[in-house]
């Protein structure tokens, strides 16, 4: 009964309702602007809301968080530039749909699935928090290492000419991630005496370059192609459409919430994981994956939003952030005198339920803001590329500067943009590279911790076969690699051909 009272705090306080709504509205547009991420928006808010009352600060931050995660899908669908890492997978099928003039349908599906995902993630947060947090606590450093490698393997095998191209760019990402001062020994790596490099490569700068500037440069090649008129007359998907994808929605939300609960693995990994899962499990999509399959939007959008609720689980119950945004929120809560951890639910249960209720309000707001602004936003793609591309470049410049307020970041962003242009032109995927930079610390720290704990490489490798969880993760990696190789694809092709012949014969 007491918990219900705490849950109603947000619903009975108009100011809190307004703050969540304003945050959500702003978040949708911030997330849609390439280069402006949830981390950046929430980080900025921490400094603005320093002197605010705790409830109000949390309400605004949660609104922004939910809005930005969803907003990233808009630019991913309309411009093929994911507004946030969590929207990388959405662009794989969302953009092809926009190219066919179905941006409205794609965004309608993205909105409804994001809302469903958020609500299911909240359910996971409210009911499964202690269980999932307990499960995540059992993960050893080897498991985290394998999880990171699995993420790279998945993104490396998505939509590219050969798996080796994806793996090469993933390895490049990890290499870039090692640039700077080593966090364990404070030894500079690949800095070549340049003090700027001591801080390492900022993944947001790399992301803006690889996804923003490189995309603008690639699009210059086709600047004279007339923009496809987008069909936005029927944005709200029918019940039949929603019901059709219920099994995939439920599957993806479970994966999203669980992955979100794992420290270091947020909406980006959840989205890619479920996209890959959908690609493997959906037998007969209306159109193939990568060419505008609805399932390719449903799975990542449900998962990245379900990961929001999941990400709060370890942050609130263990004091370990589930992703970069909850890491910033952890800092914000500490500023307000709170101590997230096992005792938080005992000492300040109101805070836990306030977060849950703010997330519910934010998802309700998402329905409204997500489905109403689509027509105006869609007009952006109908703008001539000669107008749009210079603006994307300026937004990329502003975004890359805003993170550290360092002019040299702009040049690095530009460098990544040019490299990304060549990579895209020669069909090398850029997403694994960005993911590699993001995951480097997770991979390296757990690898080195594992080496120390297991007393060497052999001990580390051997421990995989002594833990059922590690073994399952390892076998999944082997399976993923094997199913992306040419011999397997050739064998599968022959098997399908034989099946079809058999059917035709019958």
């Amino acid at each position: 009964m007491e918990n219900l009272q705490y849950l109603l705090i947000t619903f009975t306080d108009p100011m809190l309702l307004l703050l969540v709504a304003v945050g959500c509205f702003a978040g949708v547009y911030i997330g849609a602007i390439p280069g402006l991420s949830a981390v950046m928006a929430v980080s900025l808010l921490v400094s603005f809301t320093y002197g605010w009352e705790t409830y109000s600060a949390i309400a605004l931050m949660i609104g922004i968080f939910v809005g930005t995660v969803y907003g990233g899908s808009r630019s991913a669908i309309l411009l093929n530039i994911p507004g946030a890492p969590a929207a990388v997978a959405t662009s794989l099928d969302g953009y092809p749909m926009a190219l066919k003039g179905e941006a409205g349908r794609a965004m309608g599906i993205a909105t409804t699935q994001s809302v469903i995902g958020t609500l299911l993630g909240i359910a996971a947060l409210a009911f499964c928090a202690p269980l999932v947090a307990k499960f995540a606590m059992n993960f050893s450093s080897v498991d985290y290492l394998l999880l990171g490698l699995m993420g790279m393997m998945m993104v490396g095998s998505l939509n590219c000419k050969s798996i080796f191209r994806g793996l090469l760019t993933a390895a490049l990402g990890v290499l870039l991630g090692t640039v700077g001062m080593d966090t364990m020994t404070a030894v500079p790596r690949f800095t070549f005496g340049i003090s700027y490099l001591n801080a390492g490569v900022d993944y947001v700068v790399a992301m803006i370059g690889f996804f923003g500037v490189s995309e603008a440069l690639i699009q210059i090649r086709s600047k004279d192609v007339k923009a496809v008129k987008q069909k936005v007359d029927k944005i709200i998907p029918s019940w039949d459409t929603i019901l059709k994808y219920v099994p995939l929605t439920v599957r993806s939300s479970v994966v999203g919430a669980v992955v979100g609960a794992l420290p270091g693995a947020g909406g980006d990994i959840a989205a890619l994981l479920t996209y890959d899962q959908a690609k493997r499990t959906v037998k007969n999509p209306e159109v193939p994956f990568g060419e505008g399959a609805v399932e390719g939007i449903v799975a990542p959008e449900v998962a990245n939003n379900a990961a929001i609720g999941g990400a709060f689980i370890p942050m609130l119950t263990l004091g370990i952030p589930g992703d970069a945004v909850t890491a910033v929120m952890l800092g914000a809560l500490t500023i307000h005198g709170l101590k997230p951890g096992p005792n938080l639910m005992n000492t300040t249960p109101d805070l836990f339920y306030l977060i849950v209720s703010c997330l519910v309000v934010a998802s309700i707001c998402l329905v409204f803001f997500g489905l109403t602004g689509v027509k105006i936003f869609t007009k952006i793609v109908e703008l001539p590329k000669g107008i749009l591309l210079p603006l994307i470049i300026i937004l990329s410049v502003v975004g890359s500067y805003a993170i550290n307020k360092n002019l040299y970041d702009i040049f690095w962003m530009l460098g990544f943009g040019v490299l990304g242009y060549f990579m895209k032109h020669f069909e090398y995927p850029v997403a694994p590279c960005v993911l590699g930079i993001i995951l480097t610390s997770l991979l390296e720290e757990n690898y080195r911790r594992g080496i120390v704990l297991k007393e060497g490489v052999l001990g580390l490798a051997g421990s995989i076969f002594t833990s059922p969880l590690s073994l399952i993760l390892f076998l999944l990696i082997v399976f993923m690699f094997a199913t992306q190789t040419k011999p397997y694809k050739r064998w599968k092709g022959k098997r399908n051909e034989a099946k079809q012949k058999k059917k035709a014969g019958v």
């Binding site: 702003a26 911030i30 928006a41 900025l44 603005f48 000419k161 050969s162 080796f164 191209r165 793996l167 090469l168 390895a171 490049l172 990890v174 290499l175 090692t178 080593d182 020994t185 030894v187 790596r189 690949f190 440069l217 210059i220 090649r221 600047k223 590329k385 000669g386 107008i387 591309l389 210079p390 603006l391 470049i393 300026i394 937004l395 410049v397 502003v398 500067y401 805003a402 307020k405 002019l407 702009i410 040049f411 530009l414 040019v418 242009y421 060549f422 032109h425 020669f426 069909e427 090398y428 991979l443 390296e444 690898y447 080195r448 080496i451 120390v452 060497g456 490489v457 022959k494 051909e497």
Partner: protein, 160 residues
């Protein structure tokens, strides 16, 4: 079933050589680091491993792609290079890149965001559109106004 013949872009095979050189350079640099503290948990171990992977993967790509036909197949080396350069870096890309570079240098040299940005926007729009020079002034004003309203005023983002 006959496999569909893949045609490679001019320079695509050469790009794998670029990766090989990058991988080899960083492998050497990592080796120097690793030598300072030669153990599996040292600061040089992961860079050595991943740069080694880049070398291995680029060699695999080179081997897999060796028999694939390029767009510029059968031409002389000079003609191949010219074709690769023209197709990879067309004039529009080079000029836009130069404009971005001058814009960034302008910012670095203290020209000021609200001076450099409208100049870049108008120049880039006019070059890419090759028409509507006056209309582009309006677009430029709209874009700068949007940046001012959203970034400077609403989010208080410090502009370069």
């Amino acid at each position: 079933m006959e496999e569909k013949k893949e045609t490679f872009k001019s320079g695509e095979k050469g790009f794998a050589v670029f990766w090989l050189l990058i991988g080899a350079f960083f492998f050497y640099q990592s080796w120097l680091m690793y030598r300072e503290s030669p153990s599996a948990e040292s600061h040089g171990a992961v860079p050595l491993f991943v740069s080694g992977l880049i070398v291995v993967f680029s060699i695999i790509i080179l081997v897999i792609d060796r028999n694939k036909v390029s767009e510029n197949h059968g031409r002389s080396v000079g003609a191949m290079l010219k074709d690769t350069l023209e197709k990879t870096l067309p004039k529009d890309i080079v000029i836009t890149l130069l404009m971005i570079l001058f814009y960034c240098i302008g910012l670095l040299e203290g020209l000021g965001f609200y001076i450099a940005t409208p100049v870049f926007l108008w120049a880039a729009m006019s070059y890419l559109m090759r028409k509507d020079y006056l209309k582009n002034l309006l677009w430029t004003a709209l874009c700068v106004g949007f940046i001012f309203a959203v970034f400077s005023t609403l989010f208080k983002v410090v502009l370069p």
